[in-house]
Symmetry: C2
Subunit: 438 residues, 2 copies
């Protein structure tokens, strides 16, 4: 009889309850796959009396998660408490020091303390697994940490936040305003009451920092990421993107450049025919570009109790099978420091939307300012808003002008638009969306 893997689980929210349920349901399959049973022997959560619809009778209750983490009766500590601070951080640290491997779904903890925790895990010769911290049920961590070990990856980008993708999808499909879609997302439970962490891109940045580290061997550091959210995107932008052959997604992008690893989160125009452009609603997706091969794209549920539990259990199963990967794919001491990418040096195509003053010479002025920065245009769309629309020659106030540039630098675009604004040929601020080619 092989000894079971004894699990201590802290945090019994939606994910924790799903883990308890799924381990029970999959008991036999897991034992067959791992060569030994997996048993949750002890749990910890804030309220003991709360009815979670799961059977906890065979498990010990340990009120203090930090105590549970170093409990001599467990082999693995599963941290589903959440948050970058204590008790999550203290509990994980205690587990390592007591020689226990840790499985966590806590992206904030990893984004802020990932390297220190990985160093400790390595020092204690235990595992730190976190498949569930990024993209729910999609095996992104395993793919980067193990699956593509032999590839030289040049870029990784993805839809890492279901809330934003849900909002952008509804806006595009139903021509609705951002605020309206956000409300709908909140009503459906896809967005928090305070949605700024999601919609301003910070959730995506935390996840990107973890993926970038696994991909490029950089030390996890969300502060080194340029972050821009989706709240300024309008249905008009989405409509223009559609007409030009693009869709707009909030992407996290990490790319190897001559100046180092560029990490950024921003609304992005992606070609309609790309795999990432097809990803709708709350679904997540990651595309990996490696030298010499066509891109690999992984698509699936990025959130939800069962999806997250699925990854938590695969992490536990790896430990049951005796696998101990280095947390970030290579020894922490070898991870390099990634500096904040200077966005002004970013190179790529741009979508620029402006409200041009309808007077002679406006087009010439805009064209001159772009030319002065050596920016070439892939397309120009200008529509008169006159009663007859289209090619109507009637002049009637400001005119929306949409430009798609060929690859240029952020710096050049900012300079050109600054000059255009000083020339007083446009109203308000131009909208600027970066283009990511596949």
């Amino acid at each position: 009889m092989v000894s079971p893997l004894k699990v201590g689980l802290a945090g019994l929210g939606t994910v924790g309850a799903s883990v308890v349920r799924l381990i029970d349901q999959q008991r036999e399959a897991l034992a067959a796959r791992c060569g030994r049973p997996i048993v949750i022997v002890a749990v910890s959560a804030r309220s003991k009396s709360k009815n979670r619809g799961i059977n906890l009778r065979k498990m010990r209750w340990v009120s203090d998660p930090v105590k549970l983490a170093s409990d001599p009766g467990i082999d693995v500590f599963v941290e589903l408490i959440g948050g970058a601070g204590n008790p999550a951080r203290a509990a994980v640290t205690a587990a390592f020091k007591a020689g226990k491997s840790v499985v966590t779904a806590n992206k904030a903890l990893l984004a802020h303390h990932g390297i220190a925790l990985a160093e400790l895990a390595e020092k204690c010769h235990v595992a730190l697994n976190f498949e569930a911290a990024v993209c729910g049920a999609i095996p992104t961590v395993k793919t980067l940490r193990e699956g593509l070990a032999g590839n030289s990856i040049t870029r990784i980008y993805g839809i890492l936040n279901g809330t934003c993708n849900y909002i952008l999808t509804r806006m595009a499909q139903e021509k609705l305003a951002f605020a309206e879609c956000l409300k709908e997302a909140q009503r459906l439970g896809y967005a928090e009451a305070n949605p700024s962490f999601d919609i301003e891109g910070h959730d995506t940045a935390q996840k990107l920092s973890i993926l970038a580290s696994l991909t490029f061997g950089t030390r996890v550091d969300p502060e080194s990421i340029y972050v821009e959210g989706i709240s300024s995107i309008t249905p008009a932008d989405l409509n223009a993107a559609d007409e030009l052959g693009y869709r707009v997604k909030l992407l996290g992008v990490a790319v190897r450049t001559e100046k180092g690893i560029e990490q950024r989160v921003h609304p992005t125009m992606v070609p309609k025919e790309s795999a990432i452009a097809q990803v709708m609603g709350v679904t997540n997706a990651v595309t990996i570009d490696a030298e010499g091969i066509a891109p690999i794209t992984l698509v699936g549920p990025g959130a939800g109790g069962m999806a997250t539990a699925s990854s938590v259990i695969s992490d536990i199963a790896d430990i049951a099978r005796g696998v101990r990967a280095t947390p970030f794919g290579r020894p922490s001491a070898q991870l390099t420091i990634s500096r904040k990418a200077p966005m002004q040096r970013h190179e790529g195509g741009y979508y620029i939307s402006m409200l041009a003053v309808d007077k002679p010479g406006t087009a010439a002025t805009i064209a001159k300012r772009l030319a002065q920065q050596s920016i070439s245009l892939e397309s120009i769309v200008q529509r008169h808003r006159g009663p007859h629309g289209g090619d109507s020659p009637k002049r009637s106030g400001p005119v929306p002008v949409i430009l798609i540039t060929y690859a240029t630098t952020e710096d050049a675009v900012r300079r050109a638009l600054g000059a255009v604004k000083r020339d007083k040929v446009i109203l308000g601020d131009p909208q600027l969306i970066r283009i990511e080619k596949n």
Copy 2:
């Protein structure tokens, strides 16, 4: 100083040469990721003198691959010879008996002798890794064997053959005939001179048998799979599919039913908005449905030297890191026998295209025969071929009739169409394409 992992590699075709090149290029990254260097110490191939554009000077040449497999100087044997028979089979067997782990890209060998080889590998406590045997660079094996260990998977289906998907894509996009696209695929090197193994679905079946085993714990057996190729598909079918909201793909499908695991390969109509429908050209994709979560889809390059080498190296890297997974995810002794799915019991929707005789009562006869088998229709498209097209009342010979049924059984459809044929209200044989809903 940690001892390097010493690799013996047999087979220096496109894949083998790419493995040699990539291991050299990624030397440092691999050492960092695996905690030890990976070194190819000896190779074997048919011709020693052939110029492959790779540097073999530091490697011993062993003419006999079976000798190489048990060479005391190697830790891992990489089999890239191909074919279900010898020398591949003998070499892999010899490697196991000498206590060496094996990495192979040989789907034929696994489809025909996978279980016997897995049993031997388990008995000898060595690894048998074969990520490269299915879907090139996409980490399908790892995802099924490790990544979704805790999930109860209900269905797996995919585009497992790039040749067929290339042909179907060209046919659909350019309204070209099958034969023409096949020729083009041959010209581009996407199809063999003798293409029947690919286009008749046998390549897909071999790969499906491996995926089904990993997914459902069945013993690999390509003979238990219902197989139908793509050579009867016409541009008219693809056009009709498009109008009805579908695309046609050659899918390998394994699904858990009440009667056991149904495994089948056939042209399939998939809803246009599904992830699998977006996959174009030689790209491969696999969708996994697990209980309680949204589907996971993995997309990427399914063939080519670099794509296949990428998976070979990730398998070698796992061995270097000391990971030894059970070949088919659970002990071979626990794998169950999968019987050939009785296709007549298959349940699903059907696309039926017929050439109906244009005389009074034809529609009523067809409708009656379907009703007698309790088949309900989702849509009917009938087009008169008269000079005015569309709703023209002019009668002018046989009329194409296209039906989409709601879920029914293969048996019912076959009976109904048999009766319709005996009624002499249609010309020739009806075309029948199964529908796979997402």
